[in-house]
Symmetry: C2
Subunit: 368 residues, 2 copies
């Protein structure tokens, strides 16, 4: 198992949650409710907390939504980020109501004095600001910035990256001029090459932590695949301090996708990892059925075990040897392994129950 050398970033503290500065990569999402509907919003956040959401963003499009933050915070356990667009007064109200961070979009609060007012309020409340750059809402083009006629796709991509990085740097400069440094940055695009390249450049240019995401990625499955490639590439380079997978779907799916990305890149473990071979003509048992039943039962389990469900003699034993516990099934009989050693033989009809009962009682081995 390989390890990532993570980029050193300057930490920010969002409520009790450290982001950057060597902290574990934080998992976050955004509510889809009307923030002013406190019951609905709290209920959604509770579902998100249950699956491992560590930070939640809520939309503050109007004063009622901003004012709801104090009521929401009283009923949840994770810090709240107020998402602000266009109207800086919503940011001030959100801060007054105890928001743990505000997110500003440099593309749509364009008046310097208004940004200053938010920065001063954040400073006196001791909360950080996220500068959230989005390819869909960049600041207007200024002279000399126009895309050349007939630009190639490659040139158009570079042009987009430059605009994204520039939008972020200008906002950072404004905050730094006000002696404000509790900054987190995100640079999101639908095109993963642009998103990766913008983040790589920003990681070189400033010390602040980075929030990773692919914007408007789509519905659950395609959006998760697209986000996994873009976010995963940066995480494997050591870039990124928190992530959000943006999906058109239940935000619970966003959290599940975040955890799969972190697990796959060996950055964090939450609950068990299931290793299962794709069934093929070699499998002599109903491997897909067994793997899916095990997966279902593992949802209740929080132990960071690596569990293998293997259907054949070819790859099964080799792979299961690497798992903390595994089953290699054959016709009528199977074998349970624990950390490389055959532990017991099991009848096919008892595969699921015996494996699960072993998993439930076993201790998590120490990792080096």
């Amino acid at each position: 198992m390989m390890e990532v050398q993570r980029r050193q970033s300057r930490p920010v503290f969002v409520g009790g949650l450290q982001i950057g500065g060597g902290a574990p990569v934080a998992v976050q999402s955004m509510t889809t409710t009307d923030t002013a509907d406190v019951d609905a919003t709290v209920s959604q956040i509770h579902r998100l907390e249950d699956v491992g959401c560590e930070l939640i963003r809520v939309s503050c499009l109007n004063i009622n939504q901003a004012n709801a933050i104090s009521k929401i915070k009283a009923r949840i356990s994770i810090p709240v980020v107020a998402d602000i667009h266009f109207d800086f007064k919503n940011a001030l109200a959100a801060i007054d109501n105890g928001a743990d961070m505000v997110r500003l979009n440099p593309g749509n609060i364009r008046v310097r004095e208004r940004i200053e007012a938010v920065v001063l309020a954040a400073k006196s409340a001791h909360i950080p600001i996220r500068i959230g750059v989005n390819e869909g809402s960049l600041p207007p083009l200024t002279g000399g910035d126009e895309m050349p006629e007939g630009a190639t796709p490659k040139l158009r991509g570079e042009f987009l990256v430059n605009r994204m990085v520039k939008a972020g740097l200008e906002e950072i400069q404004l905050l730094e001029e006000l002696d404000f440094h509790d900054i987190k940055i995100s640079l999101k695009a639908f095109d993963i090459y642009a998103m990766i390249e913008a983040n790589r450049r920003m990681a070189q240019l400033v010390p602040y932590p980075l929030h990773l995401g692919v914007t408007e990625a789509g519905t659950v499955f395609p959006g998760s695949v697209r986000s996994a490639i873009g976010i995963g590439a940066l995480l494997m380079e050591g870039i990124g301090d928190t992530l959000r997978v943006s999906l058109s779907g239940d935000p619970v799916e966003e959290i599940k996708a975040c955890w799969e990305i972190l697990r796959s890149t060996n950055l964090r473990q939450k609950g068990p990892t299931l290793v299962a071979c794709p069934s093929c003509g070699r499998a002599q048992i109903d491997l897909i059925g067994l793997a899916q039943q095990v997966e279902e039962r593992l949802k209740q389990l929080d132990k960071p075990l690596k569990i293998a469900v293997m259907g054949c003699v070819v790859n099964g034993p080799g792979e299961a040897k690497d798992a903390d516990i595994g089953i290699a099934g054959g016709k009528g009989k199977g074998v349970i392994f624990k950390q490389g050693k055959i532990y017991k033989t099991v009848d096919e009809k008892d595969f699921l129950e015996v494996l699960m009962s072993e998993i439930e009682t076993m201790e998590v081995p120490a990792r080096d």
Copy 2:
């Protein structure tokens, strides 16, 4: 949209399908049926062809399975790879029965004369051989190869990569000594860092095309996320000529995941790309519902259009401008865009039908 500079590889021809040498990255899967059950196998392959599978591997564990290949090939339209383990006679039978390629695992056919017999048969049938290295079934350790006691995770990772690359190179050398060069290679591991690093090294060392995959990745959702990160990282570097996403599930899901990976990395388009923003408190319409309905209807559509479903004024117009056609919804009314220009205003109740009817009649714009 950024572009990938693809690694130049020496092409192989699997039936009518070119792999490597600048051909589009080919999409493949493996059947989960007993290959000897011709009806079941053909029926599964037909379902896979329908969703864009271009090459299918079938398991040949015994002579009956190998002999079934001629009957299967008579009823399908894509080339067939025979998956061989342990017994070289199954490879000979598969070749006799018209297999378009055989896959050999260097970890389990260890007798030189037997491999030679397969190579000679492949040569006279003019079909290529895939050398399929798998971390779960590597050749036995030889003297000096043992892992040092107390190795760090990093060292264990390097050790695994070295063993994988070595297993591949030794088999390549054997084939080259027999003047056989119609070779494709795969190096699969569960750990994506090991899988990426092994492929990077092999890409430098030999001219042959690479088949990418993450082994025993798990059930559909976690397995797709893990595979997307590992395979996606290599594809973005220009490495990889064909891919398989190994899932414990219906192989149709493997093909869907392959296409999402290719679409996300801008390497190939198949059918429409849906851009949809994650709904949030800003959305004034039921965006998730609309996006899911559009996604469902798009399953019938083969046009490579980029279609946007956006729920708010913040990011919607900017993003939809980049799509071939899009809808930006607001309360009661929405606007349909076509390639950056407002095309018509639509009542909320007609969003789906008007958007779909526009999509169905519009032509695919030329791409540069």
